[in-house]
Each structure stands twice: as C-alpha cells, then as structure tokens.
C-alpha cells in the first residue's frame, strides 16, 4: 500500500518560490497499476521523484507499507531506492558502456547479491521481458528503443521491488511497442503483486490502468478509475525525451 498525505514540494529560485506539488493526498493499494496524468509542468515527474525518494518533499508524508520515507536517513533512503523500488525512465537511462546483462546486474551488485546469482537472475529477467541471449550481450546503443525499455524494466525488477515507478515509459516508443511495454507492466502487476505508478501523457495507457490521478498545476484535480482518463484531453505539449545512448 502506498499512501500519500498532504504532500507539498516547493522549489526556491531567484524569481521566488514555485510550488510544484501542492497538498496532495491519495492511496494506491498493493498490486495495482496507477497512472498519473496531466499537462507538462503539472508536477507529475516531481511527484514521481518524491515517491521514489529521489527528492525530499517540503511537507507531507509518503508511506510505503508502514514506513514514512520522508523521515528516512540518507543511508536508509539509499536502501529504500535499492531494495523497495524500481525505476523505469522515458529515456531508458541505461549505462551506455555496459551490456544489457550488466545493466540488469547493476542494482543487484549494489544490493550485495553474489556474482553467480545476479548473473543467473539477470538472464532470467531479460528472458522474461523478451530480450534474447544475443541481445543481452549488446550495449544499449545497439538495441532498439523498445528493447532498451525492456532492459530498463528488467533492471527495475532486479531486486524484486514492491513498487515500480515509471516516468513516461512509452514516451519514446512507437504506439505498437508502447502497447507491448504497457502489457508487460500490467503482467508484472498481476503476476508479482507489484504496485506500479506510471506518469504518462498517453491517455490510451491511462485507460488501461486500475487507477488514474490527474494533476493540474501541482494539485490533484481528480482521482478515480477510467472515467478521468476518458474525460481528460490529450496533452499536446508533451514532447518525447531525446534518448542518449
């Protein structure tokens, strides 16, 4: 269970204070696939960063299970990011000079998993997301966008997290590949009871999720099921992120 209570994030800049996330509260039950939709600049990615402990909120609480991650020490935050969550990014963010296999092994290395064990598990995960043995030995630059995103999903699953945070996971993919990736995430949520929170501007994806939250100017405009996604207008300001490999 992911519970967010009165979450606020402000940024201070020379021109004043900007409130990116304003007093947001919601709950996502375990094993559900939730989508956060909204226009560019509505605070979606900031919210995702806060859920992933990449940034600290100005106020409010984020309960993952029984732990309030806003109160964790730096060392515990590292452990939280390593063991309890998995990230999937729009730009894949694979380490360019490592092979697909090595990229998947990386979080397990940080978690202290033995070499043989992490090698076997990485192969298993890559096979599960449809990466062939040949593709496993390739560096990201020699994989297609869809393949890279599959590798990124395998990497996110490496330490068997209970929460996967995906930032525009299909943003750089064509619609057919995007659909495959979404199906893959759905399958994960069902089979592993993994909670998935995906930020997206793709309403088609949002329609397929269990829960949808719409953000407007940092505030939760609406939350519920498919109705929101059906009534929401497509975000024409969203641009695909340039992928670096």
């Amino acid at each position: 269970m992911l519970t967010v209570t009165n979450l606020t994030k402000q940024f201070h800049s020379g021109s004043g204070t900007v409130t990116a996330v304003k007093d947001i509260s919601f709950e996502i039950p375990e094993g559900k696939f939730a989508a956060i939709i909204g226009k560019s600049g509505s605070g979606k990615s900031t919210l995702l960063g806060l859920l992933g402990a990449l940034d600290k909120p100005t106020s409010g609480a984020i309960l993952v299970g029984d732990d309030d991650i806003t109160k964790l020490s730096d060392r515990d935050l590292i452990r939280y990011r390593r063991d309890r969550i998995g990230f999937v990014f729009q730009a894949y963010n694979l380490v360019p000079n490592l092979t697909a296999l090595e990229n998947v092994m990386l979080p397990m290395e940080f978690a202290g998993v033995g070499s043989a064990q992490r090698h076997a598990r990485a192969i298993e995960l890559l096979e599960q997301v449809g990466i062939t043995a040949d593709e496993q030995t390739r560096k990201p630059s020699r994989l297609s966008g869809g393949q890279q995103q599959r590798v990124a999903i395998a990497r996110a699953l490496a330490n068997q997290p209970k929460l996967i945070l995906a930032d525009e996971p299909t943003g750089n993919l064509d619609s057919a590949t995007g659909k495959l990736i979404v199906n893959l995430l759905h399958e994960l949520a069902r089979s592993r009871k993994t909670t998935i929170v995906a930020v997206t501007h793709d309403l088609e994806i949002a329609r397929q999720t269990d829960l949808t939250f719409q953000l407007t100017d940092g505030q939760l405009a609406e939350q519920g099921s498919h109705r929101i996604a059906k009534s929401a207008k497509p975000d024409r300001t969203a641009e695909p992120v340039k992928v670096r490999s």
Binding site: G49, D55, R81, R82
Partner: protein, 462 residues
C-alpha cells in the same frame, strides 16, 4: 562486475580523451620521476661530499707554512684547550721535521736549512731528484728548479721527512697500510718508528732493524706501504713525544687537525677553536667554504629538481582533476541513474576514483618508461648547465679556489660529470606513490561533486 572494474572500463570509454590524458600525464609523471631521480642522486652526492670533506678544522701556528722561515710553533698545552671545545671529537697533533742526508745539506730548504748536528741520520732517501742532470738523459725526473732561482745538482737526494704525530695510522690525511710489523702508539715516547716500503728497501731495513737519527738509535716497528706518492715514501713516522724529545722541540706542535661531530657544527666550532687559541697565535681554517663551493652546483641541481618535481606532481594532479571534473559534469545524469537504482555515494565515488587511478597509472607506466630512458640525459644536461653557471667568467672550479678546493674537484667538481642516476625499487615505488597521490588529489574534488549530485537529476530532460 565490481566498482573497480567498472571504473577501469570507464577510463577507456572515450579513447581519444583517454589517449590524450595518458600522454599528458605520462609527461608529468616522467618529468616527476626524472626530477626525483636527479634529486636523490644529487642528494647522495652532497651527503658524500660533506661526509668526506666537511668536518675537519686545520690548526697551524699563525703565519706558518711548510717553507716559512717565521713561525712560532703551537704547544701541546695550547692544543689541550682545543680538546675541551664542544663538538670536537678528535684532535691529531703533528710536528714536522727533516733529516738531511748525503747531498741534501745544499741548497737551503727554508727553516730546516740549518738543522744542526742533531739532525743527522744514517738513512738514505729513496727519492732522487734531477736524476737526469742538467739536460742530461735517462733516469727520469728531469730538471728541478728551486725557489729563489738556481737548480738542484744532478742526482740530488732530498732530506728525509720526519713526522711526529699522535695518530700514526695516517699520513697527509690518508690512512696508511702496514705491510709488516705493527703500528706505534702516537702518545708514547718509544724510540720506535714506521718507515715506508721504499725507505726499507733503499736502506735494507726490516722490522726490528735499527737506524740512526738525531744521534739516537731508532728501531723499525713497522713498514707501511709507500703507495704512489713519492713524498709518502720519503717519510719516517714517529710518535709525537718521541720526535719532540729527539728534535729538542719539547711540547711543540707544527699543525693539528680537529674533527667536529657534524659538518653543521663546523662554523661555530671553528670560531670556538680560534677563540680558545687566540687569533694572534694560530691560523684556524675549515673546509666549510670549500665544501660550500664544491656542492653549490649540486645544490642548484637539487633546487631545480625539487621545484620541477613539485611542479610535475601539481601539473599531473591538475590535469587529472580537470579531466575528472569534465567527466563528472558530463555524466551527472548517469550518476543520478546510479543513485536512483541504489548506488551509494561511496560506490559511485569509488568508481570514479578507480577511473582516475586507471588513467593515472596508464600515464605513469608510459611516464616511468620515458623517465627511465631520459633520466641520465636530463641529469647530464642539468649538471652541464649548473657547472657552467657556477664556473662563471672566472673559468671553472680551479680559479682561485686554492689548494684545498683543488682537492675537492675530485669529489665535487669533476665527479659531477660522472653523476649517474640509479633506479631502484624504491624509485619505482615512489613513482607508483606519486601516481596514487595524483589520482587521489585529482579525484578528491570530483568525488565531492558526485556526492552533491541529486538523484533527481535523472528526472531532468535532456
């Protein structure tokens, strides 16, 4: 794959940059190694020069020279004060005299010209001067001229040199080698003497044989090696009290040499000895100035080497620092990714330090090879430049430096040209240490910057 191996692989992620950094670091490390070798070699030579020459004080009666007519000998009683001066560890007192032999009474030899009836000996000098006569042929030696004009007669035999000393184990500051018999005690009046192998051979003397000197019978206690020095072969060594008694110069001393504990105390001890003896009674000189002159070129090289070594290390650190700074800035997003997937600051910093270390070691290997090849040519170049500048317009070391300094040439001057850098394991370890130092210094700030990178960087768009 471990943090270290990831760092090593990252070092070669951009081959052009890695190659460039390696070459520049190689120049830096090579220069540092060359300078370190020069520094060590020169320092060893300075230590050697100081150890060999630097810690003795010469004491002689005021205005005294070997051929001087005017002097008043020092006395053993006066020199006892020198023994009390702090830092004086040894005092060797000597009394010089000459014993005329057949043909040596003419011409005159300064104060020893008229040596009186006491100064006679049954010995014949093994040295023959002007052996070839006036323009004569054969025999060697050639024509020898004497001070004040004139010329020695053909086949002239010089007087026998007599040395009374408290240290009969050395002659002219050099240890003697006893070939047969035994040494004598320099502090006891025993009517015994040491003669050279040449003298023994010339006069058919063996250990236990006797000869006449100062109207007394002297026993040969030992025979020492004449060596290649003709003057040494013509010398008879007595204990100081013996020669003082036989020559009727009780208590007199013509020269003394004080040894000081370290060269660092030489100047102050020289002043103290001068004060103890009184400035009008004795000339007190030390080798300090001579040593200073002798090691000046070495000191110049040492200074150049030291500053160049520091400069090379700083340059290497700056190069690796700027490189790592550039790499860290370039990979902020990647650092954010690593943090987002659970890497600690220590792990990421370790990876970057390993990368810096790899680049530095690659540079160090090339630099060490280059440094080993270039160390001696560079050292020669430094010596050449240093000796030229030290010689100045006066024309080299010999110019006006005097007799003592001429002796130093063998150690501090000509030997400079033979300075040779020797590479030991310690130098290679220093090289490795320098590479480590460069890597650690150069990656310390980038490591700090890594810690400052927020994991949220990863959420930033390109």
């Amino acid at each position: 794959m471990s943090t270290v191996s990831r760092g090593v692989r990252n070092a070669f992620r951009n081959n052009i940059r890695s190659g460039g950094v390696t070459v520049i670091l190689a120049l830096s490390v090579g220069l540092a190694l060359v300078m370190l070798l020069s520094l060590k070699t020169v320092q060893a030579r300075i230590t050697s020069v100081k150890a060999n020459l630097g810690n003795t004080i010469s004491i002689s009666p005021a205005g005294f020279s070997n051929f001087s007519d005017a002097n008043n000998a020092l006395t053993t009683a006066q020199l006892d004060k020198v023994k009390q001066v702090p830092h004086v560890t040894k005092l060797v007192e000597t009394l010089q005299d000459r014993l005329p032999t057949t043909g040596s009474s003419t011409p005159s030899f300064g104060r020893f010209a008229d040596t009186g009836s006491n100064s006679t000996t049954s010995l014949t000098s093994p040295v023959k001067l002007n052996a070839g006569g006036n323009g004569g042929s054969g025999g060697g030696g050639g024509r020898v001229f004497i001070r004040g004009g004139g010329q020695l007669p053909a086949g002239f035999t010089p007087p026998v040199s007599v040395l009374g000393t408290t240290d009969p184990t050395s002659l002219s500051d050099q240890s003697i080698t006893i070939k047969s018999g035994s040494a004598i005690d320099g502090s006891k009046d025993t009517s015994q003497a040491l003669i050279s192998t040449d003298m023994a051979s010339k006069n058919n003397l063996k250990v236990g044989s006797t000869f006449q000197a100062y109207n007394a019978t002297i026993t040969v206690a030992g025979i020492f090696d004449s060596g290649s020095n003709g003057g040494q072969g013509n010398t008879v060594i007595f204990a100081l009290p013996t020669i003082q008694r036989l020559s009727g110069q009780a208590g007199d001393v013509t020269s003394a040499t004080a040894t000081v504990d370290t060269v660092d105390n030489l100047a102050s001890t020289t002043t103290a000895v001068q004060n103890a003896l009184g400035s009008g009674n004795a000339d007190v000189q030390n080798a300090q100035q001579q040593v200073t002159q002798a090691v000046q070129p070495l000191e110049n090289i040492k200074t150049v080497s030291l500053y160049s070594l520091i400069g090379a290390l700083v340059a290497g650190s700056v190069i690796i620092f700027l490189t790592m700074l550039m790499i860290v800035r370039e990979r902020r997003r990647e650092i954010g990714v690593l943090k987002a997937i659970g890497a600690s600051n220590v792990t990421i910093a370790g990876q970057f330090v390993a990368e810096a270390l790899t680049l530095t070691l690659a540079g160090a290997v090339v630099g060490v090879i280059g440094g080993l090849i270039l160390s001696n040519p560079v050292l020669r170049l430094l010596v050449q430049n240093s000796t030229i500048s030290s010689a100045g317009p006066g024309g080299g070391f010999g110019g006006g430096a005097g007799r003592g300094f001429a002796r130093l040439l063998g150690v501090g001057g000509q030997s400079l040209q033979s300075l040779h850098a020797v590479v030991g394991y310690d130098i290679l370890l220093y090289g490795l240490g320098a590479a480590l130092l460069i890597a650690v210094l150069g990656s310390a700030v980038p490591a700090f910057l890594i810690a400052k990178v927020r994991p949220a960087e990863v959420m930033r768009g390109e």
